[in-house]
């Protein structure tokens, strides 16, 4: 045994997928793509990974990421093509992530601010912080 086992993070599936989780999925699809993708292409890739999504859902998420300045878009015919807005910081950090994921000893070197939460921890945390959601 090398390091304490970590709880596997369970990706949310289905239509009740959390908006944040979907944003992350769309982001990783665009990061993995070698060229800018149209909304339809993004949806096809997402549907290959999980249950089918409505076209409008993907449009909304791409719009949200674009509004946050995380994506760039170009007009190609009548469709927009989206790509991750690459900053030198982002490129370098994702390279580091990939390299360390390959080493399999990621968590030990990069001390993350917070670890993954279980459902019971989430409820507990909300109670501690006194917010009702």
């Amino acid at each position: 045994m090398s390091s304490p086992p970590e709880e596997p993070s369970t990706p949310d599936r289905g239509d009740r997928r959390a908006p944040g989780a979907l944003e992350k999925q769309v982001w990783s699809v665009l990061l993995a793509a070698e060229r800018p993708l149209t909304t339809g292409e993004v949806r096809d890739q997402l549907n290959a990974q999980g249950p089918p999504l409505a076209y409008t859902t993907v449009v909304t998420i791409l719009g949200r990421l674009y509004a946050k300045g995380l994506l760039t878009r170009t007009l190609d015919g009548r469709a927009h093509r989206y790509a991750p807005a690459s900053t030198p910081e982002g490129m370098a950090a994702s390279r580091m992530h990939q390299a360390l994921a390959g080493e399999g000893d990621h968590a030990a070197v990069l001390a993350s601010f917070v670890s993954d939460l279980s459902d019971t921890d989430e409820a507990l945390l909300r109670r501690l912080l006194g917010g009702n959601g």
């Binding site: 090398s2 304490p4 990421l65 946050k68 000893d105 990069l110 601010f113 019971t120 912080l129």
Partner: protein, 315 residues
Amino acid sequence: MRIAVFLPLLLPLLAAWGATPLAHRVPPRLATWLLTAAAAVLAGCSTVALALLAGTAALRIPLLADLERYSLSVVARDDPASIWVALAAGTLLTAATLAVGRVATRRARAVFATHRHTRALPGSDELVVVPDPAPEAYAAPGRPGRIVVSTAMLDALSPAEQDALIAHERSHLAHHHYRFLAAVHLAAALNPVLIPVARTVGYTVERWADEDAALAVGDRPVVAHAVGRAALAGRATAAPSARPALGLGITPALPRHAGDVPRRVAALLTTPLLTVRRGWLLVAVGVVLLAALGTLEAQQDFEALLELARHAVTR
């Protein structure tokens, strides 16, 4: 040797059981040092004990007896461990050696990769902000170390909480917390019984950084909120935004199964541990000393056995 050699093998069980209660009763900095030192000594002692037990099996090899000129019959008569126990110890020792080698190379490669990539991060600021819809923040050790925070993480926190987050990561870098983690992971590789101790040190270094952040921003509830909201930011629904009625000293009792993040938040919402519970300190030091003494005793007995067997040949 019959009893002493088993002390260093059994005491790690006590350490595994006691690590978590100790972490909740001793200030995090001291707890980190104590648990890391205990894990290192216990892992070392249990490995030596396994080697001594395995050694008693090796002593029965006739070729070795001829070469080293000692009496096989004396060894067979006075051997403190049965051959099966000795063989089991040899198997465990081999597994531990292989495991520690694997963990050490993997860790060394990861540290090397981190240093290389940390140097490649653009700019010279300690803080590197990366565009990413996932809320992330971590300290990457290097020369100098860098703090990487994603835009989504900054969006989730108020300016005061962002300061707390950065102070927390700065503490990780300033106190080289990854070295403690490396030490306990190596100890746990040598002796898997110590895995709970390694996990607990993962918690105490976070607590250590939380307390440093609380000192830096001068406001414990702000740090508690930074930790809590950062954790909730990764979840489905939005994190609570309003500052609730804190500072009343009312903290919900935590259930036994509570994870690290709620525990950290709860610890920050209560008054800090200023007094050290001496009892826990004494128990921790006692366990380590007992293991060391047991190992020493076993080693001396092993040498005495060898001496006796040599003597029987020269006589």
